[in-house]
Symmetry: C2
Subunit: 765 residues, 2 copies
């Protein structure tokens, strides 16, 4: 492979509509604040269905949730991430002929993503219908250094052509969200959510300010076009769309370059977003384009320092993992007003809302590579805490906080509560991510400041949700991660996580008390010592389903008695099952959409015996359809944990290439961020056997037989450790920070600079 750090369009260079939709996602540009789907600036022929959107993380409007029957407390509105003004359009005319990928002849054509430079590039050599030839190189970047900035460099190489060149670069405020009434995972109708309130040209830049229809927010976009050579410029303003028309001449071999600066600012971050947009534009214009790139690349370099995976023996896989880590950085909010949506900033899928994917798949990646991002994500949950308290009240709870299953700012946005609001494990997931952040950083100050408030309030909710019955503590009528059995009693995952959560609430209580940091949070939430005693009692008495006959942990208290359903006998076209069977039919069968109990074994492996986990794993393998992209990575990790190397590798399979190969046939809706993080976790937690616990960190590396070697890096208490695993040895190098105790194959070592351990004997070399 020429370069693992570039992704090319070569696999399928065709211009068929569906492939272009995939390109919109694979080559989208984002920086955690803004995201721009990858489109041909000049547009597409009539009849092409293209999404062509630009987003701001966490910038939303309200939209109605319709209900067949009104139920108390089920929300009647939801938050939807908005498509904001289109700043992509650039039309090119050479001697009156309009450039298009679909006319004339494409002599050369490529698109690629350069993951070191952080840009997507389209290179085209085109012969017009009348026989003129030009070459184009179009470079796009969403700046990691200046978050509101999206840049397009449009370079025209006239080749042999000499004549008039007209460039029409547009900025369009009339946009509406993508919708598909037939897919429950997208919005169901195309509404215009942002209404332009002003559209003007100032200092040669166009400004469009829009208001949202219901949420009372504002967004300003600003576009400035700078052409490398003299030209006649004219502006057209029409119905909230501005077009900057530049006329010039190709009179020599000199290339002509347009730099199109676009700034997107929303009023959540920038109360006076028009003013900020102007300042940001001036800031961008005040330095050279190459300086903008240098700064952007600097941010990326820092990122790559800690996010590192390589595989000797499978370049394609290594490339896929790098691609995934790149996308995670593109998707993760860098401020507390956003989080990470399941589709990042690459599509409208799931309406840009945030789910447990953040805490249970994506944060574990950031927590051990870039904990500052995890901290920001936790802070964004802290910002939602008042909403979570309100949500708990709506759901009938007397105290505590219940995070919504899907949300942007903290309001519950699920309309179908059995596979939505009933997923109370979200509270445990958020607590788990805070505990993991603490374990990786020992940042007790942050726990005192924000983490404990979340942990205590959400722990309280378990106490108000569950109840003691005949000596045990039960949590009834909740839904676990597996949405093929909803509203069940004593979901194993939920109960095990609640137990862990309650125990850590007790630990943090003691730690904060000992360090004198308890008072502010305890006072704020009127936390009483008696509650801690309740936490201890409930955690001790927590009912964890166990079936003595099969010696497994049933997913919930009624799971074993459900009907069997032979997965092998289900016609292939009937997957995913949720699109082909009534919920009751699914609920009535012993069948799982995704890892649920197996997920609990991944995150809470010490709760059960090896034997039980082993039995259960084999059991759940048979009844899981993996209709969720979150499932297979977890099965892979747990297979590795249980010593099933071959299975671990098989479950890993192509999951790293889910979006690159469009394995779920829905990449056009956006990337699968949780799955992307999952592939990293599979390598580090699965094959690397990495664990992050109260006792410290440990490794238990295995090497898939098809690989020669692999390496990865983790950051632990600010020490960067590189792990290199070959057939014969594991090499641990301390790249940065203080020496650390690490456990390898069950034995403790002090890692000072480098440690080489023989895999066969577990001895130091």
């Amino acid at each position: 492979m020429a370069n693992k750090r570039k992704i090319y369009n070569l696999a399928d260079p065709s211009l068929d509509n569906y492939n272009l939709l995939l390109n919109e996602v694979i080559f989208h540009n984002a920086n955690g604040y803004i995201g721009i789907r990858y489109d041909f600036e000049e547009g597409y022929p009539e009849g092409y269905e293209i999404t062509r959107s630009q987003y701001i993380n966490g910038f939303y409007d309200y939209t109605e949730i319709k209900h067949a029957e009104r139920l108390y407390g089920v929300p009647d509105r939801k938050q939807t991430m908005l498509d904001v003004a289109d700043t992509q359009e650039i039309k090119l005319f050479i001697d009156g002929e309009q450039f298009s990928m679909f006319s004339g002849k494409l002599l050369e054509f490529d698109i690629y993503l350069d993951m070191d430079r952080g840009v997507t590039v389209r290179e085209v050599k085109w012969r017009s219908p009348l026989g003129k030839e030009i070459a184009l190189k179009i470079t796009r970047m969403a700046s990691l250094h200046q978050l509101p900035l999206f840049l397009i460099e449009y370079e025209i190489d006239p080749l042999e052509f000499r004549g008039e060149i007209i460039i029409e670069s547009a900025h369009d405020g009339n946009v509406c969200n993508f919708a598909d009434p037939d897919d429950p995972r997208t919005a169901d109708k195309c509404d215009q959510y942002i209404i332009p309130v002003s559209c003007e040209i100032k200092d040669g830049a166009s400004y469009i300010t829009s208001e949202t229809s219901k949420s009372g927010l504002e967004v300003c976009s600003c576009v400035k076009n700078v052409l490398s050579q003299k030209n006649q410029t004219e502006f057209l303003l029409n119905n909230n769309k501005t077009t900057c028309i530049m006329r010039t001449k190709a009179s020599s071999e000199r290339k002509i370059k347009l730099v199109k600066y676009a700034i997107l600012c929303d009023s959540i971050r920038y109360p006076d977003c028009s003013l900020t947009a102007r300042e940001e534009m001036n800031k961008a214009l005040s330095v050279s384009v190459s300086e903008l790139h240098r700064k952007h690349e600097g941010c990326l370099r820092t990122y790559w320092k800690n996010c590192y995976v390589d595989i000797d023996g499978d370049d394609e896989l290594a490339q896929a993992v790098i691609f995934n880590m790149y996308q995670l950085n593109q998707s993760a909010s860098k401020d507390i007003y956003g989080n990470i949506a399941p589709k990042g900033l690459s599509g409208d899928g799931y309406e840009g809302q945030y789910f447990w994917d953040s805490e249970m798949f994506i944060q574990p990646f950031f927590t051990i590579t870039n904990p500052a991002i995890s901290k920001t994500l936790i802070e964004s949950r802290h910002l939602q805490l008042d909403h979570a308290r309100e949500n708990a009240k709506i759901m009938g709870h007397k105290c505590g906080a219940l995070y919504p299953w899907r949300t942007i700012t903290g309001e519950e946005c699920s309309g179908y509560y059995p596979a939505g609001s009933a997923q109370y494990h979200i509270n445990g997931d958020i607590a788990y991510s805070i505990i993991a952040y603490y374990l990786a950083t020992k940042d007790i100050g942050f726990i005192a400041e924000k983490g404990a408030e979340i942990i205590f309030e959400t722990a309280r909710l378990w106490m108000d949700t569950g109840n003691f019955y005949r000596g045990e503590f039960h949590i009834n009528d909740v839904t676990g991660p597996d949405e093929y059995t909803c509203v069940v009693n004593d979901n194993y995952y939920t109960n095990a996580l609640a137990q862990y959560h309650l125990r850590w609430a007790v630990k943090f209580y003691s730690m904060l008390k000992e360090t004198g940091m308890l008072d502010p949070v305890a006072k704020k939430i009127k936390f009483r010592k008696a509650e801690i005693r309740g936490f201890i009692k409930a955690a001790e008495a927590m009912h964890l389903p166990y079936d003595p006959e099969t010696k497994i942990n049933p997913q919930d208290d009624s799971f074993m008695r459900k009907k069997e359903w032979d997965i092998a006998g289900i016609p292939k076209e009937n997957f995913p099952l949720l699109l082909h069977y009534h919920p009751l039919h699914l609920y009535r069968h012993r069948i799982c959409k995704q890892a649920d109990t197996v997920m609990a074994y991944f995150i809470l492996e010490d709760t059960q015996s090896e034997e039980t986990m082993h039995n259960s794993f084999l059991y759940y393998e048979k009844v899981t359809t993996h209709d969720s992209s979150l499932s297979q990575p977890v099965f892979s990790i747990v297979a590795a944990r249980l010593g099933m190397e071959e299975k671990a590798y098989r479950y890993f399979g192509d999951s790293a290439k889910l979006d690159l190969l469009n394995l779920y046939n829905n990449t056009e809706d956006g990337i699968h961020t949780a799955n992307m993080a999952g592939t990293f976790l599979t390598i580090v937690y699965g094959f690397g056997g990495f664990r992050l616990k109260e006792q410290g960190i440990s490794f238990d590396p295995m090497l898939p037989s098809k690989w020669n070697a692999y390496d990865f890096k983790i950051l632990y208490e600010n020490s960067r450790i590189k792990v290199y695993v070959t057939e014969t040895e594991c090499v641990f190098s301390l790249e940065k920070g203080k020496s650390k105790m690490i456990t390898v194959y069950g034995k403790p070592y002090r890692l000072k600079k480098r440690l080489v351990i023989k895999r066969s004997s577990g001895e130091i070399e």
Copy 2:
């Protein structure tokens, strides 16, 4: 009490808006085919909100069901009973002054329902603003003899007035269904479902024909006005409304009488409904008005012969029970194209759809008083059988039929499946009603013809729904009658009923085989003998939840472990709970909306020991809110069954007067037909201790201490038995038919003509 068989408006004669809405229901006219809410013909002042509707049983259109998230198999349209053309309007002008109840002075005013004549009458003595006085008597009837006919007799007594009289009698095709977006029990928006396609005057009668917007049905209404004295008649036609203007003079003491004939015909019953409407109009006009009344009263007399309850010592209660029985006759379809809606034909509540109320509350009343009506209702379910088969497929079943939870013609109309389609007990309810019909009539021919096909197909569904697990047969993920715990495993009511259902399927199979009537049905549905073996095995192994600690039948397998909730501590304004708590909050608590296990004890008392029923009854008393009007009658019956006289009487309480006293604050949406039947059942099954079983019929009468005596009649195998219970004795009289064996207080007797049994000793007098 002057007359128990008349209901007067005297309780609250005020003309406030809400009271008038109640009058629309209490005094509505219906005959099982058409229903007309009671309205002042002349209308109301501006600002009054009045429903003013006319319905045809089972005449529907489709309307969209909206969903927050699309789920496979959950219907996206439902059937709604339609409001058809308004034929009520009559405006009266005397010397230019318009008669209105809200102007001038009401010197006398009354409305009453005469339950022997089957009419509602309004009597008014009115002084106009200018001081003229007239008296009006307006009589309304929906003919039981000629079902499409609704008659208004509008009699004007001029008293001292002499002058011009103008009557404007209208017929309006522009109607739309009542809607209340805030109430989940009514439609949520006012749509015009029927679109007039023709409006014309033929032979002095106006005809309006309309088509439904989506269901492809047609309805024709025809109105003819006949005035008792010479007049100038003129017709106005405007926008699908016709007005017949009659000018005449009050020149003597002679009363002036308008007879307004209205015919309503739909295309479900009458494919050429316009033609039929014409024929029906001619038929009505061909005889005198008094003859129309005579025939109508004849039908009523026949009805009252078998439907008889009287209470010595509580006239008001007796009147209420008579009122209820009257309404049941008004509500019950007399053909197989309709059934009985929860609100009968008196309102839009529940959109005129049919539920289990028919089979489990209303049919038990008809089955032992008027089995021909029960038979018709069962036939209407037979007509839906193909839909039920299709519904089973949609729900994922490989065979059998699953009746929809709510429907008009057989398509599932519930949008919220946990409290809708999940109520699989509907299959058992329908089977139960067929078995009861058989027990009361021994009509095995009907079983062979239609009953068995339903019974077998629905029995098959239990086999495909449930599964064996560790030796027992379980039915998982269904909802019992109690909607405060939805989608549960092994609901006691459902399982006990399924067991009974399967056993009767086996019995009918044998009976039909023995009588040589099996083949046609067995061939039609490809019924195999092996299935019968399966039925037997499943029935034997049926899991019926039992808790050895409390010695009760838990409502389902997880009921006992749910949280307790002290009903007494819930603020009164929070009832019904479903309007004030999130479903998950309700599901998580050991609390019941209505009788569920207790209902099973009513219908299947032989399934459990006396002790278990006793314990359970006391248990469920504490956790039931009776938020459904179906609940208290059942508690009353079972209390009586268990010898708790005082409680039986207390639960009976005012339930017979639910609508007369508007106890549920929603009588304006329509009468509560199931509750009405429930009051009859409470007297007969509860206090009378009547049972209808394979072994025959039995009585176990008690006398509430506040009553002197009571009597009722039942029809059993075409023998009419009158039962009279006093403090000291029970008197059984055979009014009609052959002598019968009856069991009284556990002892068998042959009832020839009259049998008097001492209540103290159980001896024959």
